[in-house]
């Protein structure tokens, strides 16, 4: 396979794909990110799309520019990559993949980074510090079970599933053998998270606005008819036309005429120290058949309820400000989900007490779950409650995979808010559901 790749690379036209590198190593994790570093050179200069084609219908595309007689090293998100396409040039992604139990990324600055020996169970992969920082900031390291770091400062470690600063090899080996296990990743096919999907079909804002406008129209018509009918019945027709004109005017002014809805559900997982991980899911659907382009503030991956759905074409176009999902069809009543995990400053850190109000809070210690209800700011986790799950258990269950050990959880808001950082020219209704908050307690 490697020979075939080298042979293929040797006979390329302009631009040339000099090398393709799997940044998280040759581990077979087809539902998780497998970011690539592609070195591209060009004699005449190249400006165009660099495309990563996966084994499914998924393509990741990045617009690149290579100066004449120059070269560029480009980081690309990918999931189960098979082929790289740049202009008329195609290269096969190396595919000699193992299936280790643990994939451990090692900061290349560590003195023992290249000395760690991989085996069938554990795959160590040294990574350049700059690449590591970039991939962490993009949230593309969900395939890695553990990251061994020289230092943690300046890194967006919230997106890492597990990390440890291990200046010496002994500390690294101790961390590998004793680590409790990484946070659960969000996979390309993830049926559990689909429990959070809103009902398909109706655009909520359109349905609500239809009921409102139709009720107002009926009310106005009845009022107009009763008033005119009692005073000047001969003007009833004119009154009807007038009310109808008002109704049309109200439709043009106040009715959302586009067809796409997007609903964001998010969970923030706050560790005892360090950055929080924000798991963000965007569900989108349409009441009518559409081919929308949806703009996201981060790089997203699709999440399907069934593997068969992943075969349909879908393009994620990546740029410096996020990504755009396009090239897919949303039939009436069909839903699609996109996910991203990003590291960020926690909304609050609530190890002892909650600095902000928490709705429908629960706490789990020693495997026992206690429902505390709505908590005011300043209340601690020993507040009176009752044993067992809360009334919103069904809603919380998809997030419970991120609880891991002793933890407290609840919702930071009571009601939906407008989704401000996603967009589409077809968007009729974008909303963000209340943020689910998880505080790890140890």
């Amino acid at each position: 396979m490697t020979f075939a790749l080298l042979a293929a690379l040797a006979f390329q036209s302009d631009p040339r794909i000099e090398s393709v590198e799997r940044l998280v190593g040759n581990a077979n994790r087809p539902y998780l990110w497998a970011p690539l570093a592609v070195k591209l050179s060009s004699a005449a200069g190249f400006e165009g799309d660099l495309v990563v084609q996966s084994s499914l219908g998924l393509r990741f595309v990045r617009r690149v520019r290579v100066p004449a007689n120059g070269s560029e090293r480009i980081l690309l998100p990918a999931i189960d990559p098979q082929k790289i396409i740049a202009g008329g040039t195609t290269a096969v992604v190396p595919g000699d993949l193992g299936s280790p139990d643990l994939l451990i990324l090692v900061d290349a600055r560590l003195p023992y980074a290249t000395a760690l020996a991989s085996d069938d169970r554990v795959l160590y992969r040294a990574i350049d510090a700059a690449d590591l920082a970039r991939l962490l900031s993009l949230g593309l390291l969900d395939a890695c079970d553990l990251i061994l770091l020289k230092e943690s400062s300046g890194l967006a470690l919230g997106s890492a599933r597990a990390w440890v600063v291990a200046p010496s090899r002994a500390e690294a080996e101790a961390a590998v053998s004793s680590h409790p296990g990484p946070r659960e990743p969000v996979r390309l096919v993830d049926v559990d998270l689909w429990a959070l999907a809103p009902e398909a079909g109706w655009v909520p804002a359109k349905k609500d606005r239809t009921v409102l406008l139709v009720a107002l129209y009926a009310l106005a018509s009845f009022a107009g008819m009763v008033f005119v009918g009692r005073t000047r019945p001969s003007r009833a027709g004119a009154a009807l036309v007038g009310v109808s004109a008002l109704g049309i005017f109200a439709f043009l002014l106040f009715f959302p005429r586009r067809h796409l809805w997007i609903s964001e559900s998010a969970c923030e997982v706050v560790p005892v120290e360090g950055d929080a991980a924000a798991v963000r899911l965007w569900f989108a659907g349409a009441a009518a058949g559409l081919r929308p382009a949806i703009r996201f503030p981060v790089i997203v991956k699709p999440v399907f309820p069934r593997l068969g759905d992943a075969d349909e074409p879908l393009t994620i176009r990546v740029d410096e400000r996020g990504s755009t999902a396009e090239g897919f069809a949303l039939a009436a009543g069909r839903r699609i989900c996109f996910a991203a995990v990003e590291g960020r400053t926690p909304s609050m850190r609530a190890l002892e007490r909650v600095p902000r109000p928490l709705v429908s809070a629960s706490v789990r210690r020693g495997g026992r779950l206690r429902y505390l209800g709505d908590l005011e700011a300043g209340v601690d986790w020993s507040a009176p409650g009752r044993e067992g799950p809360g009334p919103r258990e069904e809603e919380a269950r998809p997030w419970s995979r991120f609880l891991q050990g002793d933890a407290a959880c609840g919702w930071l808001d009571r009601s939906d808010r407008p989704a401000e950082d996603v967009g589409s020219t077809d968007l009729a209704d974008g909303r963000r559901r209340p943020l689910f908050f998880i505080q790890r307690l140890k």
């Binding site: 079909g201 109706w202 655009v203 359109k206 349905k207 239809t210 009921v211 406008l213 139709v214 009720a215 129209y217 009926a218 018509s221 009845f222 008819m225 005119v228 009918g229 019945p233 001969s234 003007r235 009833a236 027709g237 004119a238 009807l240 036309v241 009310v243 109808s244 109704g247 049309i248 109200a250 439709f251 009715f255 005429r257 067809h259 009441a287 009518a288 058949g289 009436a332 009543g333």
Partner: protein, 210 residues
């Protein structure tokens, strides 16, 4: 607008009540069961079928009280046609909303409105001519409307299911069937031509008996 009667107000109220009430019932989640046929893509069709049902079966009941007793039959017909036009205009706000929800193309929307108007105009012309010539139209009209609306599509369905013959061409003149198929061209043509033919037979100067 001379000699308006409260019947027109009652007609308008019934019309608005039927349309808005239908949408509120379908979308307001007030029924104890979920209506599986009500989906975004079928909302416009649901509304159109209710509009057609009103125009075909309810609107004719208002015609005798709306026809001008002292006017020539053609003058009375014109007034009835104007009333049908007013009904279509009054239905525009809910129809536009439903069409947007169902993502109906403008051409299909206009054809649906034309179907409504033509069905109303056909009934108006038929009753107006019947009143002018002192024919008993009502019972025969209802029987015919029932046959065309349901017997023909049902017969076509049975014939097609049994593999006897293809009677779909016959079912196409049912306005309900045509609306459901999204192809109201034939009913618009057939009932439009019939309305014009009836109009040409209407007694121009004869006055309608009160």
């Amino acid at each position: 607008m001379e000699d308006e009667r409260p019947a027109s107000v009652l007609l308008y109220l019934s019309w608005i009540g039927a349309l808005c009430g239908t949408l509120l019932l379908l979308l307001g989640d007030v029924l104890p069961v979920r209506l599986v046929f009500v989906r975004p893509e079928t909302l416009f069709l649901c509304l159109l079928e209710v509009e057609l049902a009103f125009v075909v079966f309810v609107w004719p009941w208002f015609i005798p009280s709306l026809a001008l007793p002292d006017a020539p039959a053609r003058g009375s017909t014109l007034r009835l046609l104007r009333e049908v036009g007013l009904l279509v205009v009054a239905s525009l706000p809910p129809a536009l909303i439903a069409a947007n929800v169902s993502n109906v193309e403008p051409g299909d929307f206009l054809l649906a409105q034309a179907l409504l108007w033509v069905m109303g105009a056909f009934a108006a012309t038929l009753f107006s001519v019947g009143l002018g010539r002192r024919w008993t139209v009502g019972a025969w009209y209802l029987l015919g409307a029932f046959a065309v609306s349901s017997v023909l599509p049902f017969g076509a369905f049975i014939a097609s299911s049994l593999g006897v013959c293809d009677l779909t061409w016959l079912a196409r003149i049912s306005p309900f069937w045509a609306a459901e198929r999204g192809d109201p061209f034939w009913p618009v043509l057939v009932y439009g031509v019939l309305a014009v033919a009836l109009w040409s037979f209407s007694p121009g100067q004869r006055r309608i008996a009160a």
